[in-house]
């Protein structure tokens, strides 16, 4: 089972307490009516599918109930870091440095 660090509870807990909530940092446009169909489609449906580090949202469902962001390597399933929702996207090079 994966162990995930919840940045709100500040504890590393089993995956069974968490739910996955899709790609992180998808920003809803300020004025949806001003969007072209292509831009709106991109916002609604088009997601990254990287092989490697992926920025994604998780929710500590059976716990504090908070959504937070994580960087997970989709190859090894290893969590590089987790951080609070609203915090800036951490720099990837600083996260992968320790792994090399």
């Amino acid at each position: 089972m994966l162990l995930i660090h919840c940045p709100y509870c500040e504890e590393t807990l089993p995956e069974a307490e968490f739910t996955y909530a899709g790609q992180a940092h998808v920003i809803r446009p300020e004025n949806p009516s001003g969007q072209t169909d292509d831009q709106w489609e991109e916002f609604l449906f088009i997601r990254a599918n990287p092989k490697g580090p992926h920025y994604e949202r998780w929710r500590h469902f059976h716990g504090c109930g908070r959504f937070f962001n994580a960087v997970r390597d989709t190859v090894s399933d290893k969590f590089l870091t987790t951080y609070k929702a609203g915090a800036p996207r951490p720099d990837l090079s600083s996260l992968t440095e320790g792994l090399k």
Binding site: M1, Y8, C9, E10, E11, L13, P14, E15, A16, E17, F61, H62, G63, C64, G65, R66
Partner: protein, 184 residues
Amino acid sequence: MNAPISSFTPSVLAESAVARVSLAAPCARLSLRARGDLAPLNAALGLTLPTRIGQRAQSGESQALCLGPDEWMLHAPETLAAGMQAACDEVYGTLPHSLVDVSGREVTFVLDGPRAVDLLTLGMPRNPDSIAVGEGRRINFDGVTVLLWRDGETAFRMDVWHSFAPHLLHLLGTGVAELAAEAA
């Protein structure tokens, strides 16, 4: 199958030499959500709301458990609930918050006995020892979200939504018997 609160009476529900599950007497349960400076609420409730998730505070017979960055569960005798709600209503102007009476939502199982910790491992993926004595957590127990209060090394209280109570009681009853068979 749903189970209204009235289908349980406070009593011992499952017991063996190593562990025991009983039902606690009903109490008032208040769900509190608030952000910002909590001082007005602390004054209204007469206790200091804990700010670290899992921490508890107690004042007389009322208890508060911090569930999230802006969320608390308050337990108190049924006679005090109305007074607590009225006191919090008075500070609503200075600190807007949400205080909801959820007394009818849950029942509390009391787990104790020398192997109560082993009984918990049947349903919870996290290590029960990660919850210190005098703390509490909202956890996943056999797929159900429950509140677990740790009152002693081997004394726990588990708040369960009553619709899930028959399911968890069945699991706990099996566990109590299995642990006893292991010890025999």
